[in-house]
């Protein structure tokens, strides 16, 4: 069993597991931090941005976390854990010869589709500057200014995919439900478990009858909107692959939420606008729910909230129909029937409005001061670029970062100098080190595999030994492009005895509570499933004139007899011989046992602790009698 690690990003993993002749890709996250190397894509022409000293201004190029470590066309299945971890899917399934199946839950598929659609839309709706690739040449890259000069492996940066590629990639997705067991080629069974992080997010169990691998990706133990994490099903794993821990181990999500609300209220009261760069699904649902409770008490009842994204409407609508993927509290609402999320009410009462973009209705209905939720959190593309240009100059306005994926200082760099206030309250609900060590104590995996980043404290806080995984035995770290041999040996495999064979077995007890039976059977293997059936009886010999010849045929198949065990006790054996009419026995003691001389039959039987030797004349009836008498005292295996 091997693990190929194609991504070094701990929260955007991409690993390939080879297990029992199946090749399974676990997630394909897309690391978009490389867009920070590009200038923002403005929706309207910006004289300021175009005057900046720049080397290239083109659409966001994206860093694909994979390398030709293995042939992508050999991948049988891809298991997706949550919608953030599937953004590279078109790069894997399109133009690579991939012919496999992708497994994901319904919310993961639908929201993943929305996020991809949004990304494509962001890229395609702005007129493209000429694209350049020559700079990726190492010689030229060397001459470029920093930090681009120092960017590694720029040749893996790829152009954004098209909607056509997205549709084609997503057509390969097969939907699964939590705990549903999916058989892969009869060899392996995979099953998603609720991971509590986002709508439809899952951890995966990959198991055969005797081995169990748990794949833990972005998981959360906090009570937010998704169904709680299923921890008990992770128990008894041989290997647990651990990825997607919180990126903000020192920031408490609840505290951040409080800070978010108070900064928001403060800015609005002072007559400023609030900009929240965010993804179109996920934490935004919790932010809206929090604001729903907060608006009245903070006297913000008249402040308009805008959610601007090409998929804003779909995201809000979809969130309401996935009741079975929600936490219990929200699930029970739909039986009333009421929408599970309170943002339905915010929309109904006109407090929250959503628009596909800043063009069209929004420009005529837009009132200030207001709160705008919009993407993309990198501040390099999407409607957020426009608001940065619009509001950046005034110190009344505030930008509040809630998404943890990008460094807010890097994100803001091209907008400097900035008068706008910046608040950084990253909300990352994924497991922190404290929670994960408690979890691992609970589920007791034999081995833990994790990104190397988790095995040492972060570089900026090297003294914080609590910000790393400390386990016994220590976890097996992986880095990008490493190939790990997972340390467990398969020893057993499932086989089925057909009823007829099972009924014919004769068990005998060798020790108290332990019985054995000799099995002689014909094995059949089909679709990686094995069965044993009774040896078919040879067809009756055709009536032949030369009957005698038939007897002379040598035995057809080599049918070895069972192994024997035990010892033949002298006294009992002599008694048995006596019973069978063999009375003249001369017993002679030797170093290792006894020699019995059957005088009338002129036969020697050598009895020893671990062997019996019968030496006789060619007298088959006698020999077989003696054989059977000896066998009475022995175990057959």
């Amino acid at each position: 069993m091997k693990l190929y690690c194609l991504s070094g990003h701990p929260t955007l993993p991409c690993n390939v597991l080879k297990f029992k002749s199946t090749t399974i890709m676990l997630d394909c996250g897309l690391d978009t931090t490389s867009v920070l190397n590009f200038l923002p894509l403005p929706l309207v022409h910006s004289p300021r941005l175009s005057k900046l000293p720049s080397w290239v201004s083109k659409d966001g190029t994206i860093n694909l976390e994979k390398r030709e470590l293995l042939d992508l066309s050999t991948i049988d299945v891809i298991l997706i854990s949550n919608y953030h971890c599937m953004m590279a899917l078109p790069y894997i399934t399109e133009h690579t010869g991939f012919t496999g199946t992708v497994y994901a839950t319904e919310p993961t598929l639908q929201i993943g589709r929305l996020l991809m659609e949004e990304l494509v839309n962001f890229m395609e709706r702005v007129p493209k500057a000429q694209s350049a690739t020559c700079w990726k040449n190492k010689e030229i890259q060397r001459l470029l200014p920093g930090p681009l000069k120092d960017a590694v492996e720029v040749w893996t940066w790829k152009r954004s995919y098209s909607m056509q590629e997205v549709n084609s990639a997503l057509s390969k997705v097969q939907l699964v439900g939590y705990s549903q067991k999916v058989e892969l080629f009869g060899a392996v069974q995979v099953s998603p478990l609720s991971s509590g992080y986002s709508l439809g997010s899952s951890n995966w169990i990959i198991q055969s009858h005797h081995e169990k691998v748990a794949y833990v990706s972005g998981s959360s133990l906090l009570t937010t909107h998704p169904q709680p994490m299923d921890q008990s099903s992770l128990k008894n794993s041989d290997v647990l692959i651990l990825t997607g821990l919180t990126q903000m181990p020192t920031a408490n999500p609840d505290g951040m939420l409080g800070e978010f609300c108070s900064n928001l209220a403060m800015t609005i009261r002072a007559g400023g606008n609030v900009l929240v760069p965010c993804y179109s699904s996920g934490v935004i649902y919790d932010l809206l729910e929090c604001l729903y409770q907060f608006i009245e008490s903070a006297n913000l009842g008249t402040t308009p909230f805008y959610f601007i994204s090409p998929v804003a409407n779909s995201s809000l609508e979809f969130s309401q129909i996935f009741a079975e993927w929600l936490c219990h509290n929200k699930q029970s609402k739909v039986y009333l029937p009421e929408p599970p999320f309170p943002h339905a009410e915010l929309i109904q009462t006109n407090k929250l409005k959503h628009y596909p973009s800043i063009h069209g209705d929004f420009s005529s209905e837009f009132r200030q001061p207001c709160v705008v939720f919009t993407g993309h959190p990198s501040l390099r593309f999407g409607d957020v670029v426009h608001f940065m240009e619009l509001w950046g100059k005034s110190s009344l306005n505030t930008i509040i970062f809630t998404e943890p994926d990008f460094s807010y200082l890097d994100a803001l760099a091209p907008y400097q100098p900035l008068a706008m206030k910046c608040v950084y309250c990253p909300i990352d609900t994924r497991l922190n080190f404290h929670q994960v060590s408690k979890l691992l104590k609970e589920v007791q995996p034999v081995h833990v595999v994790c990104p190397e980043q988790y095995t040492q404290p972060p570089a900026s806080q090297s003294h914080r030994s609590d910000l790393m995984l400390e386990l016994q035995p220590p976890p097996m770290p992986y880095r990008r492009c490493s190939v790990l041999s997972l340390p467990f040996r398969r020893r057993y495999e499932r086989i089925h005895l057909l009823p007829e064979l099972a009924n014919s077995l004769v068990p005998s007890e060798v020790k108290p509570g332990v019985s054995v039976a000799t099995v002689s059977a014909v094995m059949q293997s089909k679709d990686n499933k094995h069965t044993l059936q009774s040896v078919p009886k040879p067809p009756p010999a055709p009536p032949s004139k030369k009957r005698k010849r038939v007897i002379e045929e040598p035995p057809e198949v080599l049918a070895p007899k069972p192994l024997l065990s035990g010892a033949v006790p002298l006294e009992a054996f002599l008694a048995t011989l006596h019973k069978h009419g063999i009375t003249e026995v001369k017993v002679e003691e030797t170093a290792d046992g006894h020699i019995l001389h059957l005088q009338a039959e002129d036969t020697l039987i050598q009895l020893e602790e671990d062997g019996t030797h019968i030496v006789c004349d060619n007298n088959e009836p006698l020999r077989t009698t003696l054989r059977d008498l000896v066998l009475r005292f022995l175990q057959k295996l």
């Binding site: 040896v535 007899k561 192994l563 295996l637």
Partner: protein, 500 residues
Amino acid sequence: MPEIKVTPLGAGQDVGRSCILVSIGGKNIMLDCGMHMGFNDDVDDELEIKAYYAGHVLGAAMVHIKVGSESVVYTGDYNMTPDRHLGAAWIDKCRPDILISESTYATTIRDSKRCRERDFLKKVHETVERGGKVLIPVFALGRAQELCILLETFWERMNLKAPIYFSTGLTEKANHYYKLFITWTNQKIRKTFVQRNMFEFKHIKAFDRSYADNPGPMVVFATPGMLHAGQSLQIFKKWAGNDKNMVIMPGYCVQGTIGHKILNGQRKLEMEGRATLDVKLQVEYMSFSAHADAKGIMQLIRMAEPRNMLLVHGEAVKMEFLKGKIEQEFSINCYMPANGETETVSTNPSVPVDISLNLLKREMALGGPLPDPKKPRTMHGTLIMKENSLRLVSPEQALKELGLNEHQLRFTCRVQLQDPHSDPDTLHRIYTHLKSVLKGYTIQHLPDGTVMVESIVIKVSSSAEDTNTKVLLLSWSYQDEDLGSFLSTLLKKGLPSGLC
């Protein structure tokens, strides 16, 4: 012999009620409950339940129950043809020991749905055109929504003005349910729900009991569906006397209900008291009921490939007919127990065992890349039964694991032979003879003066008295018993003279 017992308590040869008791692998399960689809629920360590989409009403599911290697599928009500708001029932080739299917429409084979819909719309349209009123008795959820969507789109397309009413007052709430449970509807509705929710009707309004007396045409959906009580019956009584009006029964009616009576052509109905009601309005029956018809039931059997079939929900006579058809087409047993009658089906489960990978791999390697069906290879192993585990290992490994010593049983057989040759020549003659008789065995003539057949050793020495009498010593272990016994018998007969 393991067996599964099925006892219908309220669904045997009966329609409408439902309760079935199943005993499987030591578990008793009462059937009829709703659950999530595509979910395996491990109820306890041994019992596993999986739900499949049934397409009968929103949220309807078929359940697959598994204990060990025994399994039962219970369909509940299901529909094999997709409609305007639900998808078709589906199941994989799960090969259950018993498939328990409803058979409400055991002998019906319905014509194409499109024809039925066109027929329905034509009749409604004609009645409305001539100023008549149309009553459609329905149950609150399910067919009602289906027919609403049908009429809504028709009204829209034909630009009709006659009012359509929905009686229960539940409309709003029912439609809200549909909106929140949109993932259970069919693909088309799911795909477009963000832009346009199919359950927000423009033409269909809530009904008030006073509307029944309004003049002019109208269409009313009223509950319940079999005209046995409630609002649908009240409206029916009001409208029955006018031959311009029409009642359309879109589903099955149980015996004894007014719905059943008028469908059978009864034109005079006895009402409570001594009153009679003359039925003058037109009575139409159109099966829009979302149950599988005979064709659908057969289709499901083909999908699931059960070993036994058991029919519930239906009328005995019709079930008998379907039973015959199933037994003929699939050659499986088909049962149809009455209420309270227990049907026992014995199962023949195979026994799962853990085979040591060494043994399996050795066997696969010896078997070659492709199995030869004519010459099956026999595999030998030892099954160790300890506590609750069953493990199949090679005999050698079993000895080692159980801490047992091996006991060697050997035979040495003296065979006297008349052969006037020198000892080495005799040995060579034996070698040549065996070579010609034993095809497919390894036979070696070793330099130390022995012949080996597989692991059987043959030596030659001359008798002290007579050099022409040779004494052959054959020595073999118990593992080669068959071959050793054969050889000693063969050599006793002497060597053929033609050997060189």
